[in-house]
């Protein structure tokens, strides 16, 4: 949440003043804004809630928690409130007792979910590649360990 103020500082100590990166793609102002929103949205729970709501439509609080799996009530409340604030989910309170609160995606939320679709597919397709890479990395780490201790 308090990231933006440090944005201009580079890697500590020495910074050359001029010589900007010069990539033509996007203009720097938008870059910053986009980064901010990516940082907020690229969050584990947000993505999982997004997916659950995309697949199940309208769900109540407790059910939503069950579907997401492994989330505490505190985090679920927090996540879903943030998403409501950002206009990703709609929260409907039915004034009955016991309370009945329903959550579903807004059009904005649905469009974000669609954009994430590619990432989900990528994850599905490349899961074992990552697993294997991780094993190789471990193996190399063990090897260099042996070398350096000899």
């Amino acid at each position: 949440m308090k990231k933006t103020e440090s944005q201009a500082e580079a890697i500590s100590s020495h910074r050359q003043p001029a010589e900007s990166p010069t990539y033509p793609e996007t203009d720097p102002t938008i870059e910053l804004l986009v980064r901010e929103i990516i940082e907020r949205v690229a969050d584990k729970w947000t993505m999982l809630v997004l997916e659950v709501l995309e697949e199940h439509g309208t769900v109540r609080f407790t059910r939503l928690g069950e579907l997401v799996g492994g989330i505490s009530q505190k985090m679920l409340t927090k996540t879903v409130r943030q998403m409501e604030r950002d206009g990703l989910v709609q929260r409907t309170i039915h004034p009955v007792i016991p309370p009945r609160v329903e959550y579903c995606l807004t059009p904005l939320g649905r469009s974000l979910s669609a954009s994430f679709c590619g990432v989900w597919i990528w994850a599905e397709q490349h899961y074992d590649e990552i697993t294997k890479s991780r094993e190789r990395f471990q193996q190399r780490a063990r090897e260099t360990e042996i070398i350096s201790s000899s």
Copy 2:
């Protein structure tokens, strides 16, 4: 990192034993695996490094930090090491002094970057929608505050 053990537990206390969610899309085993990788990859620094490397090709450590912006050496090291471990970046050490270490995306990293492309575009397109939604939310919050304090 230590998330996986709590995965089966729902929202604490009461869980109905049977009655699984029943969505036909993906089978539950892959779901878990995909979630794990999403959790790891859906990280602010990872995404930013990914983008920088996508746009600049091969870069050295210090330069990479400058391009990402606002990242400390510690976090940069950690992030790129993780990414190397997962097979997203290639780390090339030139055995010279002073050291020269170059980073670039692997094909796997490039494919992930491509998958995230949709999210970047979404963020660009919907930035002001989110900003406005946030303002409305604030406004409503202020209103209910007044009501409840009367």
